[in-house]
């Protein structure tokens, strides 16, 4: 039985794992880099160990150092979170070798899932439909170009070690392909230290729909419904929801059965995700398996009532699944907005720095998984996801309006965020009606709508803003030349 879990990760996902462990009475071991002394996961864990410099390669990707902490802290299991070492089969194998329970699939299964080509081959064999593309890895840009011309542009260049929007580029002609090949290669090497590229047909007006897979060590497998993750920018998910507006009970069951087959085809154990593209004609194509807990798992927790981290730990402990497919019932509607530190108007460029103040929304059926607290810092060394804001409702509309209220309540000082963008998206008729596609932002001119919304918001607040300015000007006239930020310790007596 797992009694002490080392979490080989940081940020909100480390906190997520700690939360369940606490509830189960399992001890937790946090690891942290120079950049993370003052981070929440260090504060919440039972124990915390320093593992190196800020750059991921020197800390969160340093397998030897993490192993050393596992052994010295007496952890009997490791949770890899997502990103970093979560889909690194060498690391999973290292854990297996040292009899540390890796909470995830076996190293062999992970290796098979991670090799996008072998995985695709396994799916074809199991009669799970996949997207047309290169039959295997392409060794250079010219070979990629040749295949692209065979299957027809647009195509996707994907590093088989990529993920989360990195190591992937959409290219529409030979010139873009040549440039993109280099970028994908270097991004992948920078993120995980290696790269290998495949070419895939890019389907237009597609929806990204993924299924939660769940399989134990006794061969029991279920799917825990789908998530639609079509609202994206640069192939990175922004908003997810479940159920998908285009998946009815019959479709859910039909694709769900394929998902169980997919899990069996790669001998997958623990929780994972099978990603599909849904073409505009309603066909589903398997893309890949994410061999880890997904960023967007909370919305599936909300509609299933299950604690996925608990389920992961139970499976890792060798317990059989406590339910069968027919016991799982989908309850209500959930939405997740990924609150990123990025500037929507600067082509989603990262925005980093200290966060002096933050307001986290709360309330019934609002869940916010975040590492933010007043006084924390958004580091340029790690990814831009600051918070996952999720809402649930018995109807989609209740879930949507609850999300809008929560987005209005959320405030993060010091960095640009994607909050205003999401308010605009959630207010469009297209989003309300479920007309989703992976090019949603471009298709419906969302950035222009955002600009108009922001202006309108300022107009609505103008009287209040002027009132605040009047009071400031009247009372602080003498200080008008200097920044008020430095005068933080005096207080004006009003009457």
């Amino acid at each position: 039985m797992i009694e002490k879990v080392l979490i080989a990760n940081r940020g909100e996902i480390a906190l997520r794992v700690i939360r369940t462990c606490k509830a189960l009475g399992i001890k937790t071991v946090a690891v942290y880099s120079d950049e993370d002394y003052n981070s929440m996961h260090v504060k919440q864990a039972t124990e915390a160990y320093h593992i190196g410099e800020a750059a991921p390669a020197k800390s969160y990707l340093n397998q030897e150092k993490i192993l050393e902490v596992m052994l010295s802290s007496g952890a009997d299991a490791v949770h890899p979170g997502y990103g970093f070492l979560s889909e690194n089969d060498d690391f999973a194998r290292l854990c297996e070798k040292h009899k540390i329970n890796f909470i995830g699939p076996s190293a062999d299964s992970m290796n098979l899932c991670g090799d996008k080509m072998e995985c695709k081959a396994a799916m074809l064999k199991a009669k799970v439909p996949t997207v047309p593309g290169s039959p295997g890895l392409v060794s250079n840009a010219d070979e990629a170009e040749k295949i692209a011309n065979e299957i027809g542009y647009p195509v996707l260049l994907k590093s088989v070690y990529g993920g989360g929007g990195r190591g992937i580029r959409l290219v529409t002609n030979d010139k873009e392909l040549q440039e993109g090949f280099e970028t994908v290669t270097s991004e992948s090497i920078s993120a995980v230290g290696k790269s290998a590229i495949i070419v895939e047909k890019f389907l237009e007006k597609t929806r990204h729909i993924e299924y939660q897979m769940c399989r134990d060590h006794h061969g029991n497998a279920v799917h825990i419904f789908e998530r639609e993750c079509s609202i994206q920018r640069r192939n990175q998910k922004l908003i997810e929801q479940t159920p998908s507006p285009v998946v009815d009970d019959a479709k859910r069951e039909e694709i769900g059965e394929l998902v169980v087959k997919a899990a069996e085809a790669v001998d997958y154990t623990n929780l994972g995700t099978a990603e599909f593209l849904r073409a505009d004609n309603g066909e589903f194509y398997f893309i890949e398996i994410n061999a880890r807990l997904q960023v967007e798992h909370p919305i599936s927790e909300m509609v299933s009532g299950l604690d996925f981290v608990k389920l992961q730990i139970d499976i890792a402990n060798g317990e059989p699944l406590p339910f069968k497919q027919k016991d799982l019932k989908m309850n209500g509607y959930a939405i997740e907005c990924r609150i990123n530190a990025e500037d929507t108007f600067l082509d989603f460029a990262p925005s980093t720095g200290p966060v002096p103040d933050v307001t986290i929304p709360a309330g019934p059926n609002v869940r916010c998984d975040t590492y933010l607290y007043p006084g924390c810092t958004v580091s340029p060394f790690y990814d831009s996801l600051m918070a996952k804001l999720c809402t649930w409702g018995p109807t989609f509309e209740e879930s949507r309006t609850r999300m809008l209220t929560a987005l209005n309540d959320m405030y993060i000082q010091g960095v640009e965020t994607s909050i205003p963008l999401y308010k605009t998206i959630l207010n469009t008729e297209e989003y309300k009606n479920g007309q989703l596609s992976t090019d949603f932002l471009k298709r419906y001119d969302i950035i222009d709508k955002l600009t108009a919304d922001l202006k309108k918001e300022k107009e609505e607040k103008s009287d209040a803003a002027i009132a605040a300015a009047i009071v400031h000007s009247e009372y602080f006239k003498s200080r008008a030349q200097t920044s008020t930020a430095n005068n933080s310790n005096w207080k004006y007596k009003l009457d």
Partner: protein, 170 residues
């Protein structure tokens, strides 16, 4: 005092008309009077009720003519000036720097992955000048105008902060 709110084409005249005591005031914005009750106030911010509606503002920073506040979670930049200031401002061509600007500045912090130009190169607006990496994303910094690269202020593998000058383009 006269105020402008950035991105809104309207100017606002605002003043305190009367102090009613007990933190209650009458203020006037353009031609309308409003009741204002201050709940809490210090140099960092104010909480107040304006015509029976609560608001909360943070004062972020202020220079002679500009004030950045966050009102009810909405960031707003106010330009402050007397009417005389406004005339001077308009006549100086203030605000529109546009094509005249020499320096290409980084809008994000990051590590320089690669330089795409050398000093003396001719660039067109939109050409890639360098590539930065931040939060595991690679972002191309593009020229803001047509011109010739006069000086390059950064090196490969170096770290740049937001607002740092990358190159000067004439």
């Amino acid at each position: 005092m006269n105020y402008k709110i950035q991105d809104i084409e309207k100017s606002f005249d605002g003043k305190i008309v009367e102090n009613l005591g007990n933190n209650d005031y009458v203020i006037k914005i353009n031609d309308n009077e409003h009741n204002l009750k201050i709940i809490t106030m210090d140099s960092k911010g104010i909480e107040f009720i304006l015509d029976n509606k609560y608001h909360k503002a943070k004062y972020l920073e202020q220079s002679t003519n500009e004030m950045n506040i966050v009102i009810d979670n909405v960031p707003i930049t106010l330009n402050l000036h007397t009417h005389f200031d406004e005339i001077v401002y308009k006549n100086s061509g203030g605000g529109g720097t546009g094509n005249a600007q020499l320096a290409l500045k980084s809008q994000i912090p990051g590590k320089v992955v690669s330089l795409a130009v050398a000093e003396g190169d001719t660039v067109k607006k939109g050409d890639v000048v360098c590539t930065l990496e931040s939060m595991k994303m690679q972002v191309a910094v593009k020229s803001h105008k047509d011109g010739v690269i006069k000086t390059i202020k950064i090196k490969e593998t170096a770290t740049v902060a937001k607002g740092d000058i990358i190159a000067e383009i004439e």
